[in-house]
């Protein structure tokens, strides 16, 4: 598993073990997991529900709550030992350095505040911006995610699900984080909107040079987007390799099984470039 490591790591997870302590005994949700996420790399964690992939995401941000406990291992982020930081120190890193976008992130916007307030709140707290400074920056961020600037005063319910998800991504970007953790960010959205959002992430990463931890159960999407992929099962990483190798030479039987279980329409349908349809 030498593919687990990266020559220039931003995040290093070593021998991580997360245990849920319950009355019926302990359940090891993450079992001896080690990997790196490189600088400006998109790293994928694939696996089915309950395999521990989201638990890892929460552990990196130290947002795991009891009964989940990190019982062993280390997490280093940019030369900081995250598990040794005080809660106050972690509070500064969370959001500012490590942003998180969840599956139902669009529901995490506050329904009774206009969008500009929610941008301003983040920037006031972490950057000490005035409302005017926050507005100027928020407008620039809206440009990045293709939402018209004049919609800053709108409320969340006035946006579609895909737009709300893009708003959350824009808010996540507002502090120039070094790492964005995306846990099934597009699972609740339509395929076209999914492609639009992920393409934007891909293009923004080139511009802003952040790393991404991308979590999904969709192996096809994962190998399309990520540089390296780890496949998880029952709390363990069963295979970790470059996305191309995971696609072309999956070595673990579980990875092969996952590939066999999804119908691929592209064996039938050839690739379409819609841009050509429109300019024609």
């Amino acid at each position: 598993m030498e593919q687990a490591f990266h020559p220039e790591p931003l995040v290093s997870v070593r021998e991580l073990e997360v245990t849920y302590v319950t009355d019926q005994g302990d359940f090891r949700a993450v079992d001896n997991v080690s990997f790196d996420i490189g600088k400006s790399e998109i790293f994928g964690l694939a696996g089915e529900s309950g395999c521990g992939k989201s638990t890892i995401a929460f552990a990196i941000n130290r947002l795991h709550k009891p009964p989940a406990l990190i019982t062993h291992g280390e997490i280093h982020f940019d030369n900081l030992d995250l598990l040794k930081l005080s809660e106050r120190e972690m509070g500064i890193i969370r959001w500012k350095e490590i942003a998180m976008v969840f599956q139902s992130a669009m529901n995490s916007l506050n329904p009774v505040l206009p969008v500009k307030e929610q941008f301003a709140d983040v920037m006031r707290h972490h950057l000490g911006y005035s409302n005017e400074q926050a507005r100027i920056r928020a407008e620039k961020l809206l440009d990045l995610v293709n939402i018209p600037r004049d919609r800053l005063s709108d409320y969340p319910h006035q946006f579609s699900g895909g737009m709300r998800q893009r708003l959350v991504i824009a808010i996540a970007l507002s502090l120039n984080p070094k790492l964005i953790i995306m846990d099934e960010p597009t699972t609740a959205l339509d395929v076209v909107v999914q492609r639009e959002i992920l393409q934007q992430i891909y293009q923004l990463r080139k511009e802003f040079d952040f790393s991404v931890l991308f979590i999904t159960h969709d192996l096809a999407l994962m190998t399309q987007l990520c540089d390296r992929v780890a496949v998880m099962r029952k709390g363990k990483i069963v295979e970790i390799n470059s996305a191309r190798e995971i696609r072309n030479n999956p070595s673990h039987s579980y990875t092969q099984q996952l590939w066999a279980s999804f119908p691929n329409i592209h064996e039938e349908a050839k690739h379409i470039r819609v841009t050509e349809d429109i300019s024609a």
Partner: protein, 313 residues
């Protein structure tokens, strides 16, 4: 071809909206027609809010159409009003929902879930028959008989969806309207449920309406597909023909967005840097209605759309 079990004919459905005193009308379905046959599957494919679930609600008589008619074995379903006829219709036309947990009562066993419909729809006459029927149903959906004693939370999503399928067959369903039945399931069990549906279609001659946003699973299970956008069917016919030779820009947009594991994003971004802009243009031109449609192949049709030079007179 034989008579369809369900025929939806030029159906329009409008909802009044906008709150108190408002006269705002939202047209959820705009001139929808399709047929469901015994032992075949039709996939209704489209993004959320396109009206695909509304179609199922009209067929189950939850809503009634504003215009047009829906025929069940040649009979208009709005004329089905007597208690007896309704019971019979509801037995023959069953629905499966997306959330396999929400559609089972957490306080009752699987046995209860299957026994009730059998009794209500008078499928069994005595206790002995009931037991045999229950065992037959579970075997059919490939669940162990011991699962009868279990509660919904003790089963996985795929197993719960199997219980829902068993419940639909229990009452003698001829048509099953499956609304995103696999989208909440893990990939590895998704195929098992789809295969079961395939088997029910082939061996029991059940007709399926498979409602989904996922072209890949539609391709796997449905002989025919209808692509919907904002209340209209824009392209319909043989699933393979549509996938091999998609004509309508919206169908093409949908196919272009299905993840292709062999095409990494750096290539996508290089070849289409402004994908979002193109997608928006396609959405807005697909929204405008243009009269008429064309036949592409023996069983492959597409509506006309704006901007197409040969169609715009």
């Amino acid at each position: 071809m034989s008579q369809p079990i369900i025929e939806v004919k030029s159906v329009v459905k409008e909802f009044l909206g906008g709150g108190m005193g408002s006269k705002e009308v939202f047209r959820a379905l705009n001139n929808i027609s399709f047929k469901l046959y015994k032992g075949r599957t039709l996939a209704l494919v489209g993004e959320s809010g396109c009206g695909k679930s509304t179609c199922a609600r009209l067929i189950t008589k939850v809503h009634s159409p504003t215009r047009g008619e829906i025929l069940f074995n040649g009979k208009n379903i709005t004329d089905i009003t007597s208690r007896k006829e309704l019971l019979e219709y509801r037995g023959k036309v069953q629905m499966i929902f997306q959330d396999p947990f929400g559609s089972l009562n957490p306080t009752h066993t699987i046995e209860h879930h299957l026994t009730r419909p059998l009794l209500i729809h008078k499928q069994v006459s005595n206790k002995k028959e009931l037991r045999a029927k229950l065992e037959e149903l579970l075997t059919l959906v490939e669940l162990p008989i011991s699962d009868l004693r279990k509660f919904p939370h003790q089963l996985s999503g795929g197993q719960r969806q199997r219980v829902n399928l068993a419940r639909a067959i229990a009452v003698g369903a001829e048509v099953i309207l499956a609304d995103e039945p696999t989208s909440m399931l893990d990939v590895s069990i998704r195929l098992g449920v789809l295969n079961l549906m395939k088997e029910m279609k082939e061996k029991m001659g059940i007709g399926f309406l498979y409602i989904t946003h996922d072209l890949a699973t539609a391709h796997y299970i449905a002989e025919e597909t209808a692509v919907m956008y904002r209340g209209r069917i824009v392209e319909w016919g043989d699933t393979r023909s549509i996938l091999r030779n998609p004509i309508h820009p919206y169908t093409r947009l949908l196919i272009s967005a299905v993840p292709d594991p062999d095409l990494p994003f750096h290539q996508l971004v290089d070849s289409e840097p402004n994908y979002s802009l193109s997608a928006d243009k396609i959405r807005s031109l697909s929204l405008n209605e243009v009269d008429g449609y064309r036949q592409i192949d023996e069983n492959h049709f597409v509506v006309n759309w704006e901007n197409e030079k040969e169609n715009v007179a």
